[in-house]
């Protein structure tokens, strides 16, 4: 095949779109399968998810290669922003096989809405995790008997929504996918759930809808801002400091503005998340400069040296003018928007006190839906923090770091205690999720200054790793609960016991997964928690020197409670000698196949976390550099 065939072939566009829409295509296919052919429907759905998994593995390999090419040449070239900028600059001169993993197409030109996809070390692992858990969840759905077609179609649409959320870089597109997740989930819980399914489904729906509305408001508010001043500011900076990165950013922005002008607009309104990052970053930097100048002025005032005072005053005025002219997202605006976004994502995480939808939804949802819910949907919260809330509103994120960390710690402790008091097996696992996701929030929150940024980096890496680890262990636990529920038809911990002798293989696999959740070294739950706590001691938000230290102690002490409820659960379910029912069949081969990948990955990630960290950390470090640079750049 001649090279020219690939001349305009945007490989990454098709790959990422494939990951998003292949499940939907298979959902469409399901419509044509004759009624009653339940197994064929299941096999079709399985094929859809398996193909998606394959595609996401391709994406992972591509990402790894991309990172490898940049690792030696350009330290910052691998970031999404850099790749998107380069792609925009090169737009006219495209002539190669496009593998930069960003793809941009106009969608609703009137409102500058784009079909804009991109992948980096933050989204790729979550995409792969989603694809994997979806395959396993389809495997776990095999024994769903009523309305199979509808169930599978909704399931596949849900997968499309999740994938789209992780890959979208246009806020509007992100929001559309975010909502696409919501409805199938509502029906999956509300129609295939347990006895209180309607209550649970509506609760889930309303909570999440509340979050969505808050995000929607923030999104519209961002859109209404005119970003043109940013262009002048970036140009000015690029002239002052000759840096490749700045020049690139200015040039790409120029391109974007020109493009809007070309379509007859005078202002630049956008849903481009990466562009909004830049606005947030630069606004925060200007604010920082201004506050520095003001502080300097006040210090000089004490010196009574009129010449210096005059100098400082003039400096302050200059900076104030710059701020006036170029600061698009003022601190107040950032605060309001950040709180909206934060609550929106914290509901998904879920953070105490917005968490009560989770136990109900889990208890009522069928096993595979619980797996998706715990494994993937909760990660949307953490992903939203990292991709949207933090980078767009860094000023507010820093000012509120103390509160975010505090609520993270509250979730950790509260979730663990609440889990200990549960008698419903599934509810216990649900509360353990709240506790574990608290580490994610804490790890992200422990913002530190540039010269100590490695500690925050451990926190963010810990948070990311914890998301992946929890994305494995939590679906694993729900699956294991589902297996026993299928046999006993109840989940009452007081009426279990003695399973170890009745179902030894099942017990062995469960114990590994539960130990992983307990944070046992050598299994996946450990690194995330450990990194987070290591980073937390250093956390010293302005004005509260002791916060990080107390948080670290609380987070570390919670491992005792975690061990308490997990071991107590193991004792009540597996140990002892009286099985709750005389004939308990050992897990079937299908169930074994569903559990095995989780167990294997839990061990792999625990023993060698670099298998993931090596290609995740660069993106997180770049994000952190951008964020930390807003305070003392």
């Amino acid at each position: 095949m001649p090279y020219d065939t690939f001349r305009y072939f945007e490989y990454d566009l098709w790959l990422m779109s494939g990951i998003i829409f292949v499940p939907s295509l298979f959902a469409l296919l399901l419509l044509f399968i004759p009624k009653g052919q339940k197994n064929w429907m299941r096999i079709t759905a399985l094929a859809g998810t398996v193909i998606t998994l394959l595609l996401s593995v391709f994406l992972l390999v591509d990402w790894y290669q991309l990172l490898d090419t940049y690792r030696l040449t350009d330290q910052t070239g691998h970031t999404l922003a850099a790749r998107a900028d380069i792609a925009r600059i090169r737009e006219s001169a495209r002539g190669h096989l496009d593998t930069d993993l960003v793809a941009r197409r106009p969608w609703i030109a009137r409102f500058n809405i784009e079909y804009f996809l991109g992948a980096d070390g933050i989204s790729v692992p979550l995409v792969v995790l989603t694809a994997l858990i979806c395959v396993l969840a389809i495997g776990a759905s095999w024994n769903i008997e009523n309305a199979v077609r509808g169930y599978l179609i909704l399931f596949l649409i849900l997968e499309t929504g999740m994938m789209g959320t992780f890959l979208a870089l246009d806020f509007f597109l992100f929001y559309v996918f975010w909502e696409v997740m919501l409805l199938p989930m509502y029906f999956l819980i509300g129609l295939w759930g347990g006895p209180r399914r309607e209550y649970a489904a509506i609760k889930f729906f309303l909570f999440t809808l509340l979050g969505s509305v808050l995000i929607l408001i923030a999104m519209i508010a961002f859109y209404f801002a005119d970003l043109t001043p940013l262009r002048d500011w970036l140009e000015q900076r690029a002239q002052q400091t000759p840096s490749e990165e700045l020049r690139r950013e200015a040039q790409a922005l120029e391109q974007a503005v020109r493009q809007r002008h070309g379509s007859g607009e005078t202002a630049l309104h956008t849903f481009d998340i990466l562009l909004l990052h830049k606005v947030g970053r630069e606004s925060a930097r200007l604010e920082w400069d201004y506050q520095q100048a003001e502080r300097q002025y006040e210090e000089v005032l004490a010196s009574r040296d009129s010449q210096r005072i005059e100098q400082a005053r003039q400096h302050r005025t200059t900076i104030a003018q710059l701020k006036e002219r170029h600061q698009i997202f003022s601190p107040t605006f950032q605060f309001i928007m950040f709180v909206l976004l934060f609550i929106g994502f914290a509901i998904k995480l879920p953070m105490v006190p917005f968490h009560t939808w989770l136990p109900d939804a889990h208890v009522e949802a069928p096993t595979p839906i619980s797996m998706i819910l715990a494994g993937i949907l909760l990660k949307m919260g953490g992903y939203g923090f990292l991709r949207i809330a933090y980078p767009i509103c860094p000023w507010a994120a820093y000012a509120l770091a103390w509160w975010i960390a505090l609520f993270g710690v509250i979730s950790i402790v509260y979730g663990a205690f609440a889990a200990m008091a549960q008698t419903d097996f599934k509810k216990l696992v649900a509360y353990s999720s709240i506790s574990h996701m608290g580490y994610v929030q804490l790890g992200i929150a422990i913002w530190t200054s540039m010269e100590r940024s490695q500690f925050w980096n451990w926190g963010i890496n810990g948070a990311m790793f914890q998301m992946l680890a929890h994305g494995l262990s939590s679906p694993g636990m729900f699956f294991m609960v589902g297996v026993i529920y299928d046999r006993l038809h109840h989940r009452d911990l007081h009426r279990m016991g003695g399973l170890a002798n009745a179902m030894p293989l099942y017990t062995g696999l469960s114990v590994i997964i539960f130990f992983a959740a307990m944070g046992l070294p050598g299994l996946c739950g450990f690194p995330g928690e450990f990194f987070t706590v290591l980073g937390t001691w250093n956390f010293t938000p302005p004005g509260s020197e002791w916060a990080g230290k107390i948080f670290a102690i609380l987070a570390a002490a919670t491992v005792i409670i975690t061990a308490g409820y997990i071991l107590w659960t193991l004792q009540r379910v597996y140990l002892g000698h009286r099985p709750p029912s005389p004939d308990l069949p050992e897990i079937t081969f299908r169930e074994f196949l569903c559990a095995l990948p989780i167990v294997v990955l839990a061990i792999l990630l625990g023993v060698w976390p670099r298998a993931v960290l090596d290609w995740v950390e660069p993106s997180l470090a770049a994000l952190l550099r951008d964020l930390a640079s807003t305070h003392g750049w």
Binding site: Y414, N457, T536, W537, R610
Partner: protein, 853 residues
């Protein structure tokens, strides 16, 4: 010659891991073979360790030809301090010199190696950016490897006999009234995992890796205590063990986090690693470990010696105080101060001349490559206490000692290996290994913890009747002795006792296992008696263990206990306010002799108290007695030196002396001024240098007192339980309250139930209640309120809005009715109305458009 014999120890560590993986995957159906595989693995590990030790011994200083022995003529008696090695030690392994390590031959011990387990790219390299897995093999590692692999091999052999009944397809568990499948392979699976974890713990060169192993040995202990999980007592004990240990582990994590934050590393010794420099070339770079980051080195990073007047700080923490009172700015200036609130951290490149006493030191509050940094002194103390809390949990020290006696629910070989010889000693090992990190305040806490523990545990052991529980409390007590020794600066004494104790306590446990096996799982000593006739080998070997633990001369325990008593005495002489640190162990020596002989007499002598047990009792097969004999032999000779009757001539002690952290050595031309420890060490080794202290030679004094105390205990036990001059029952009734107090183990379990377990459960229920009624109450309440509002809204709609609409309709109808009169049928009227309507609509639309536009 191997280039780096350290890999032998890595291989020794990995062998049991391989065995674990094999058994985990396929062991279920292998029966007896599973036991052989595990035994072969740990036996192979022993052989590898022995080969490694053979490589190490020429460097050990045991044979006297250390590097600088010629340069420095021995100034003291050979057996006291082995001072001829001090000069060498200064350049030796504890990382107080930056330059030598880079040029060092990797074949010279300590052997090192490792890899990065996780790293971040922010921050300066080497400053809290990488968590490593690595190995560090020095003399302490070597001797621990030998001990662990030897004891573990013997216990594995013993277990192939002891666990044989698990080979049957059906095993009846009398305690749980259950019949279950035998699970012989599973036992060895867990044992292999344990051996791997334990060896990894000893091999590790950093706190992070130690923590990993720490938790892994904990989980193995959990699995093996809960081996008979049909019994609720076993699963409860397993939970208790792990959760209590987690309390300590939380402290360990916090301690690690503190050190990580201020020092920027968790590696203990200095390491050399390959690093990519700015040009992309791989270069060998030295990374200082925690020890040399916290304690003053003797050279700066440029290889220049530090100014002479700083000699007194060498090997010590360097306290500084900020020159400006408020240290708000990151880069501030400090000066040396006797009791300053900050400690210098030597984490990066620095010049010797920056460190003079007159000028200020520019130090950062973050670990940095470009200079010195500082950490608050309280944080150093807290870090030490945190790490020590981990040791308290693992080594079952007061107040976390409660799990170990319950852990006796596991099979007896497990008690011997994990809960006597190795895992519980890990806490002591870590205190010894991380010794340079501990500030004097922490050492004092360690000493008191040990003293209180050894006394409490021994007092409880006096009255217990379950043979394994007596041994368990005895273990707790002996571990307390070790902690006490370390806390008062008796580094050698503490680790010496760890090694000797491992042998005789493993022997005692295996002996008790043999008794229990012979008596068909009877553990109550009150039902035994007179068993000597039935099991002579067990009885005699156990007697050796009893004599060793009681401290009978020429038995291994005598040497190590003597060393502990000397350390304690030397400490108390210098710090008379801490006299308890000597009195408590002295009394406890008597109690130890008493309860151990009580155990032996009750079991093996006198008349059988339960005919049924006695009749069925039998000696164990050779796979069980052979390990007993070997261990008995070791319990006697392991501490011998020449001449054996000199308690301070022990070869093992000399060996450890060479491994002692350098700053503990009282060295004439190296004036160590650690106010807390240095005089103590000096007094213990050279009492003649302290003419003002009017006491006999501390060695003689402590030795005699200990021997006297042990003799009293022995005599008392013999009087009561052998000669029968005193009726124990009557004594019990006379001291009923004391007896109950001891029998109830000082009520620790009850107290913890009230102050920890119950409150936790109550808090948990409160959280659940809060969720159900407060948060969900709010949620559901607002939902209900919304529904109510919408119902009202509906009524409003129906009554008022619809009413209005209907009213409008009515009006329109009325108007229309009236208009009917207008309906003239004339076309022009209709056109007029249409035109008016069009104008109205147009006006409305343009008004709206104007608003929008």
């Amino acid at each position: 010659m191997l280039e780096n014999p350290g890999w032998l120890f890595v291989a020794a560590t990995l062998l049991p891991l391989i065995s674990f993986i094999l058994l985990l995957i396929g062991g279920k159906h292998w029966g007896r073979v599973a036991g052989w595989i595990a035994t072969a693995a740990i036996g192979g590990a022993f052989i590898l360790s022995a080969i490694g030790a053979a490589y190490y011994l020429p460097h050990s200083g045991l044979f006297g030809h250390s590097h600088s022995s010629e340069a420095k003529p021995a100034s003291q008696e050979e057996h006291r301090g082995a001072s001829h090695t001090h000069g060498a030690r200064r350049e030796h392994n504890h990382g107080h010199e930056y330059s030598s390590l880079l040029e060092r031959d990797p074949a010279e011990p300590p052997w090192q190696g490792g890899l990065v387990w996780a790293q971040t790219s922010s921050g300066e390299s080497g400053q809290a950016t990488a968590l490593r897995l690595g190995f560090y093999v020095d003399g302490l590692t070597v001797i621990m490897f030998l001990m662990i692999t030897l004891v573990a091999t013997l216990i594995h052999i013993f277990s192939t006999g002891y666990m044989a009944e698990e080979l049957q397809p059906q095993v009846e568990d009398h305690q749980a009234y259950a019949v279950r499948a035998g699970r012989y392979p599973r036992f060895f699976t867990y044992m292999s995992l344990f051996c791997f974890s334990m060896l990894n713990l000893v091999l590790a060169d950093n706190l992070f890796q130690i923590f990993i192993s720490w938790e892994l040995v904990g989980i193995c202990s959990y699995l093996l205590i809960g081996y008979y999980y049909e019994r609720s007592s076993a699963s409860n004990a397993a939970n208790k063990a792990f959760i209590t240990n987690r309390v300590g582990d939380a402290g360990f994590i916090i301690g690690s986090a503190i050190l990580w934050t201020y020092c920027g590393t968790l590696t203990l010794p200095d390491t050399v690693r390959l690093q990519r420099n700015a040009k992309g070339e791989m270069v060998r770079e030295l990374e200082p470990g925690l020890f040399s980051r916290l304690r003053m080195p003797n050279k700066d990073t440029h290889g220049d010696p530090l100014p002479g007047q700083l000699d007194k700080y060498f090997g010590n923490f360097v306290r500084v105080a900020p020159i400006k009172p408020a240290a708000e700015v990151a880069d501030t200036r400090y000066r040396l101060a006797e009791n300053g609130g900050w400690v210098l951290v030597f984490g990066g490149h620095f010049h010797g001349e920056d460190l003079t006493e007159e000028t200020a030191i520019a130090a950062s509050s973050a670990p940095t490559n470009m200079g010195l940094s500082v950490m608050p002194y309280w944080a150093l103390v807290l870090a030490g206490i945190g790490v020590f809390l981990g040791c308290v949990g693992k080594s079952a020290q007061f107040p976390l000692h409660v799990w170990l006696p319950d852990a006796m629910e596991g099979p007896t070989p497990v008690s011997a290996l994990i809960h006597a010889a190795t895992m519980v000693a890990a806490g002591v090992y870590l205190v010894g290994r991380a010794f340079p990190l501990f500030a004097p305040e922490v050492l004092l806490v360690i000493a008191y913890t040990g003293a209180v523990t050894l006394f409490i545990a021994a007092s409880i052991a006096l009255v217990q009747t379950d043979i394994k529980r007596v041994l368990a409390y005895s273990t707790v007590s002996q571990l307390g002795f070790m902690m006490l020794a370390l806390g008062v600066g008796g580094w050698i004494a503490g680790l010496f006792h760890l090694l000797t104790h491992a042998f005789f306590k493993a022997l005692l446990f295996l002996g008790s296992g043999s008794v229990i096996h012979g008596c068909h799982h009877e553990q109550d000593m009150m039902k035994m008696g007179g068993l000597y006739e039935k099991m002579k080998i067990t009885a005699v070997t156990m007697l050796a263990g009893v004599l060793a633990i009681a401290g009978a001369p020429l038995f291994s325990g005598w040497y190590s206990k003597d060393a502990i008593m000397v350390s304690a005495l030397a400490f108390v002489v210098h710090h008379p306010q801490h006299i308890l640190l000597f009195l408590l162990p002295l009394i406890t020596v008597a109690m130890t002799a008493f309860y151990m002989f009580r155990l032996w007499y009750l079991t093996f002598t006198g008349k059988p108290r339960d005919e049924h047990v006695y009749e069925h009792a039998h000696e164990s097969p050779w796979v069980m007695t052979l390990p007993l004999i070997v261990l008995a032999l070791f319990s006697v000779v392991v501490a011998w030196g020449w001449p054996p009757w000199d308690p301070h001539a022990s070869a093992l002690e000399h060996y450890l002396d060479h491994e002692m952290p350098i700053y503990l050595h009282p060295d004439a031309d190296n004036p160590l001024q650690d106010a807390y420890l240095a005089p103590v060490r000096k007094y213990a080794e050279q009492p003649e240098a302290f003419p003002e202290i009017q006491l006999p030679d501390p060695h003689t004094l402590a030795g005699l007192l200990a021997l006297l105390s042990a003799g009293i205990g022995f005599l008392l036990a013999t009087t009561v339980y052998y000669w029968g001059y005193l009726d124990p029952e009557a004594t019990q009734q006379q001291f009923a309250r004391v007896y109950t107090f001891l029998w109830e183990k000082w009520h620790f379990d009850a107290v913890y139930r009230w102050i920890a377990v119950r409150p936790a459960m109550v808090l948990a229920r409160i959280c659940r209640w809060f969720d159900l009624y407060v948060i969900d109450g709010l949620v559901d309440g607002s939902a209900r309120a919304t529904v109510k509002i919408s119902q009202w809204d509906g009524k409003f709609d129906l009554g008022i809005i619809d009413g209005l609409v209907n009213l409008t309709a009515d009006i329109i109808y009325a108007v229309a009715a009236w208009l009917r009169h207008v309906q003239t049928g004339l076309l022009r009227n209709y056109v007029l109305f249409l035109a008016l309507a069009a104008v109205g609509i147009f006006a409305l639309v343009s008004y709206i458009l104007a608003l929008v536009g």
